[in-house]
Symmetry: C2
Subunit: 125 residues, 2 copies
DNA sequence: CCGAATCCCGGCAGATACTG
DNA sequence: CAGTATCTGCCGGGATTCGG
């Protein structure tokens, strides 16, 4: 069965479903945070260390959105000093395989894309 | 083998590879245009019709980027009126399967995500 | 028919400083 | 430790107009 018969999944509703997910996971940090949480439960500080370059602000916002969408569970422990733990929900875990598919494609094709882009820049300035 | 042993693909270089691809395909229109071109060669006007809501400007920019990255081939026919055709390169076609994986996930999980988000809005305002 | 050029706006994201 | 507050710049993207 030819591939294009499947792409109706993407184009289906004028791209609304695709857009809905893209809007959620295609920002700068979301996928990286999800992948990091695939290790298991982590504290805010751990995440801040393990996701290189993320600011406190963006980590907070990213986690809030993930929690809101039911992809990450947030647990506050009533202690001093405070301890807050984050973990993927089953829903969140289910995002990993398609993310890996994309990452696999990236690893395989990005070098050639970079080359193509470099060549284009040369021609056009 | 547990999943998290694979997520190093995503986290690998601090997310640089992932970011490289995300920066390219995760804008508002790219994936939609690629999916539309999976049908085969199309003219600018065809694309403009078949991708609902895209402006001429964004279609032009999206196609230029895809051409630059070697995912789409652009063919200009020396005629009047001018005719310009766009088609996926093999490189571009190879993006379809991972895109479908993501779309499949979206179709399966977006309803639940919407529900979770709606519930969250209710609680928090 | 196929674009390029210009103007404009909202929202993302960084830096920094402060709080329970 | 785990956030919030505020200020700021940047850029994606829409509308519109003009050119070959």
């Amino acid at each position: 069965m030819p591939q294009q018969e499947h792409t109706c999944m993407i184009r289906g509703d004028g791209g609304r479903t695709l857009r809905a997910i893209l809007d959620r996971i295609c920002n700068k940090w979301t996928l990286l945070v999800v992948a990091t949480l695939d290790q298991g439960t982590l504290r805010f500080g751990d995440l801040h260390e393990q996701v290189p370059g993320i600011s406190q602000r963006m980590l907070t916002l990213t986690l809030r959105n993930l929690e809101r969408d039911g992809l990450v569970a947030r647990t506050v422990h009533a202690e001093v000093p405070p301890r807050v733990e984050y973990a993927l929900t089953p829903e969140g875990k289910s995002l990993i395989p398609p993310a890996l598919a994309l990452a696999g494609w990236a690893i395989e094709h990005v070098p050639q894309i970079e080359a193509s882009r470099a060549a284009y820049e040369d021609r056009a300035g």
